[in-house]
C-alpha cells in the first residue's frame, strides 16, 4: 500500500480504520527533500552551492553556513577536482546530465566520504544553464569493494609480469649454450615463439662441440604442440641429444636413441629433428632428418640445394631402432648450411613443394649477405605471408 502525504486515505480506510490509511504528516515536499536517503544539493552553473539538504549535512558533518556560497568542486578531494574539471563539467555541459561519477567528499572532521554522484543541468527558457541539481549517494561499502577489485587487478597484472619473467628464464635455460662459432666456423641463430605473450615453444636450435673439439654438432627440432608443455619436452630432447652425442654416436644412431627416449617423455609424443655433425677441418657433414624439413646448402659456385638424404620418420611414430638413414655432404670453405623449422616455410594454403621453392629462391637472392643479415632478411621475407603464427627456429652455419 502507498500513502501520499496530502491524501485523504483510501476508500476502504474508513471501514477498517487501520493506522496505515492515515496521512503521514512528515511526507511533505520539504521533508522529502531534507531527509531524503541521499544527499541533495543545487548549484549555480559556476558551481556555487545555493541549496542543500539535511542528509548531506549529516553525512559530511558540515553546517549549511559552511557550504552555502562555496563551490561544489571545493568539497572534492584527491583527484576529484581535476576529474571534475576535465570530465564531470564537460559531460554535464554537453550531455545535460552525468551519472555515477565516483568522488570523495571532504567531511568536516577531515575524513573522506566516498560517494557516487548523479547530476542534471537545468536550462532556462532561452536554453542558458540555470541550475545544476546533484544527488549524492554514500558509496562507502561499494568503494571498499571496488578497492578490492582494483587490488585484485593489480595483483593479476603483477602475477602476469612474474609469469613472463619465469617464461623468459625458462626459455633462456632451455635454449642455453648454443655456440655462436669456433675455430673455422660461425653460427647464427634466430628463435621466435608462436605465442607472443609466452616466450617459449616447442622449437629448438643447438650447436655444440663434440668431445675432442674436432667436430661441431647442430640440431634443430620441433616438438609437436605449443606452449609450456611443448617447451619442457623440447628442453628434454635437446639435452638428450647432447648426452647421446658425447658417446660417439653418429647422426643416425643419435636419432635412433633419441627415438627410444621420446617414448618416455610425456609431452613429446611426436617430434621432428634435423641433426648434423660437421668435421670442421675437412668440411665433411654427416646428417640425418627424422621427419624434419631438409637442410639448405649454399655452396660457393653452385645453386642453393636441399639436402634430401638421411631421411626417416618423425620420432615417436616408429619404426624400431637401427633403421635411420644418414647422408654425407662436403661443406667447402665459404659454404653455408641452414637448418630451420616448418614455421619458416609452411603455410596452410600452399603445398610444401611451393614453400620449399620459395625458401630456395629467397635464400639464393640473399646468399651474399653476412650471416646475421641473411637470417634476419630470410625470416622477414618468408614470414611476410604468415597466416597462422607458429614457432620459428633458424640455425645458420658458415664455414
Amino acid at each position: 500500500m502507498s500513502v501520499g502525504g496530502g491524501s485523504e486515505g483510501g476508500g476502504a480506510g474508513g471501514a477498517d480504520g487501520g493506522p496505515s490509511e492515515a496521512p503521514i504528516p512528515l511526507e511533505t515536499a520539504e521533508d522529502l527533500y531534507d531527509r531524503a536517503p541521499c544527499g541533495y544539493l543545487s548549484t549555480r552553473p559556476d558551481g556555487t552551492i545555493v541549496r542543500l539538504n539535511r542528509t548531506l549535512l549529516d553525512w559530511t558533518g558540515h553546517t549549511a553556513d559552511e557550504l552555502l556560497g562555496r563551490r561544489f568542486v571545493d568539497l572534492l578531494r584527491g583527484g576529484g577536482p581535476i576529474f571534475h574539471e576535465t570530465h564531470f563539467q564537460p559531460l554535464l555541459l554537453i550531455q545535460g546530465e552525468v551519472r555515477e561519477i565516483a568522488f570523495d567528499l571532504t567531511c568536516a572532521d577531515g575524513t573522506a566520504l566516498p560517494v557516487l554522484v548523479n547530476a542534471v543541468l537545468v536550462r532556462d527558457g532561452a536554453g542558458e544553464p540555470l541550475v545544476v541539481r546533484i544527488v549524492v549517494y554514500d558509496a562507502t561499502a561499494r568503494h571498499g569493494y571496488e578497492q578490492e577489485l582494483l587490488r585484485a587487478r593489480l595483483r593479476a597484472e603483477a602475477s602476469e609480469l612474474q609469469l613472463r619473467g619465469v617464461a623468459e628464464t625458462l626459455q633462456r635455460s632451455l635454449m642455453h649454450g648454443t655456440l655462436t662459432g669456433g675455430d673455422g666456423f660461425t653460427v647464427e641463430t634466430l628463435y621466435r615463439p608462436a605465442v607472443e605473450s609466452l616466450e617459449v615453444g616447442g622449437d629448438w636450435h643447438d650447436a655444440f662441440a663434440l668431445p675432442g673439439g674436432a667436430t661441431v654438432a647442430l640440431s634443430v627440432g620441433d616438438v609437436v604442440g605449443r606452449g609450456i608443455r611443448a617447451a619442457c619436452a623440447m628442453g628434454q630432447l635437446r639435452s638428450a641429444i647432447r648426452a647421446i652425442a658425447t658417446t660417439g654416436a653418429g647422426p643416425a644412431d643419435t636419432l635412433d636413441l633419441l627415438g627410444a627416449f621420446v617414448g618416455g617423455v610425456p609431452d613429446a609424443k611426436v617430434a621432428t629433428v634435423a641433426y648434423a655433425q660437421l668435421h670442421v677441418a675437412t668440411g665433411e657433414l654427416r646428417y640425418a632428418c627424422a621427419g624434419h624439413l631438409p637442410p639448405l646448402l649454399l655452396a660457393p659456385g653452385r645453386d642453393v640445394e636441399l639436402l634430401w638424404d638421411g631421411r626417416s620418420r618423425p620420432l615417436g611414430l616408429g619404426p624400431a631402432a637401427g633403421t635411420t638413414a644418414e647422408g654425407v655432404v662436403a661443406i667447402a670453405p665459404g659454404a653455408r648450411v641452414v637448418l630451420y623449422t616448418d614455421g619458416l616455410v609452411e603455410r596452410r594454403t600452399r603445398d610444401i613443394d611451393d614453400s620449399l621453392g620459395r625458401l630456395t629462391e629467397t635464400a639464393e637472392r640473399l646468399r651474399d649477405r653476412p650471416p646475421h643479415e641473411f637470417v634476419a632478411s630470410l625470416t622477414d621475407e618468408l614470414l611476410a605471408d604468415e597466416d597462422n603464427r607458429d614457432d620459428v627456429c633458424v640455425l645458420c652455419l658458415d664455414r
Partner: protein, 267 residues
C-alpha cells in the same frame, strides 16, 4: 591508417579559406568545441581532431612510446597540418593542447601564424624554483586513482543521453559513442604525460602572435599560471574571461568566441 582517420579529423568551412585548427584538452574530445568552432566556419576552414586514442581516434593510434611525451602529440598535430597542407594556421588549443600547439609552433614556426591558448599551463606541478603550477605529485596520484574508480562504471555511466538541443538530434548518440570510448590505459597514460610535462622552456621560442584566455577560479590552470604564460610568450596578450572553471568553450562560448574574434581582427 591515414592521418585523417587516425586523428578523426573533421573539416568544415570554405575549402580555400585560412585555417583554424582546434585541439581539445585532457579528458574529452573535439566535441568540446561544438559551441565555438561553428562561429568561424563562414570565413575559416575549421579543422577539428581527436588526440590519439580519444573520442573517435582509434585506440590503436595510441603508441605508448610515441605518446610518452607531449612531443608525440605535437607530431600528431603536425601530421594533421601536413596531411591537409595547412599554412598560416590559427591554432586554438584547450588545456594541455595549448602546450601541444606551442611545441608544434616552435618546431615549424612558418606553419603557425597565431596561437589561441585556452586555459593553458606549461607545468601543472609546483617547482622547487618557486614556480607555482598548483599541483603536487600526490594530486596526480589522486587523479590516476579517480580515473581507475570511474573506469568501472565508465561505459554504462555515460549511457545515452537525451540532448536538450533538438536542432541536432543525432548528437546524443554521437557523443555517447565518443565519450565512452576512451580506453582507461590511454587516459591514464595521457594524464601522466600531461601532468608531468614541463613546457616552460618552449614559451620564449614561440614566434606566432598569441592569445591567452584565462578563466576565473580555474582549478586546473590558476590565474597566476595564465599570467606566467603571457609573460613568457614574446608576442602575446592576456584576456581574463568572466567565465569560471576550466571549460569556457562550453560554459561561456559567446564570451570565448568574442575574445577570439577580437584577437583575429587585430591581425
Amino acid at each position: 591508417m591515414d592521418v585523417v582517420e587516425r586523428s578523426n579529423v573533421t573539416v568544415r568551412g570554405p575549402a580555400v579559406g585560412p585555417a583554424m585548427v582546434f585541439a581539445h584538452g585532457f579528458g574529452c574530445d573535439q566535441h568540446l568545441w561544438r559551441l565555438v568552432a561553428p562561429a568561424f566556419e563562414d570565413r575559416y576552414r575549421t579543422v577539428l581532431y581527436d588526440l590519439a586514442g580519444f573520442g573517435g581516434s582509434p585506440v590503436s593510434s595510441f603508441d605508448p612510446e610515441r605518446h610518452g611525451t607531449l612531443q608525440g602529440y605535437a607530431d600528431d598535430l603536425l601530421d594533421v597540418c601536413r596531411a591537409l597542407d595547412l599554412r598560416d594556421v590559427t591554432f586554438v588549443g584547450h588545456s594541455v593542447s595549448a602546450m601541444i600547439g606551442v611545441r608544434a609552433a616552435v618546431e615549424e614556426p612558418d606553419r603557425f601564424a597565431r596561437l589561441v591558448l585556452v586555459c593553458p599551463s606549461p607545468r601543472y606541478l609546483d617547482d622547487d624554483d618557486g614556480y607555482v603550477g598548483g599541483f603536487s605529485a600526490a594530486d596526480i596520484d589522486g587523479l590516476l586513482d579517480s580515473l581507475d574508480r570511474n573506469y568501472l562504471g565508465w561505459s554504462s555511466a555515460m549511457a545515452p543521453v537525451i540532448m536538450a538541443n533538438e536542432d541536432r538530434p543525432a548528437l546524443g548518440e554521437e557523443l555517447t559513442n565518443s565519450f565512452c570510448r576512451t580506453d582507461p590505459r590511454v587516459a591514464k597514460a595521457f594524464a601522466r604525460v600531461t601532468f608531468l610535462s614541463d613546457s616552460r622552456a618552449d614559451l620564449p621560442r614561440v614566434r606566432a602572435r598569441s592569445l591567452v584566455l584565462q578563466c576565473a577560479h580555474d582549478a586546473i590552470a590558476p590565474t597566476v599560471v595564465g599570467e606566467y604564460v603571457h609573460e613568457h610568450l614574446p608576442s602575446s596578450e592576456l584576456v581574463l574571461l568572466d567565465a569560471t572553471g576550466h571549460c569556457p568553450n562550453l560554459s561561456a562560448p559567446t564570451e570565448t568566441v568574442a575574445a577570439i574574434e577580437a584577437f583575429l581582427e587585430a591581425g
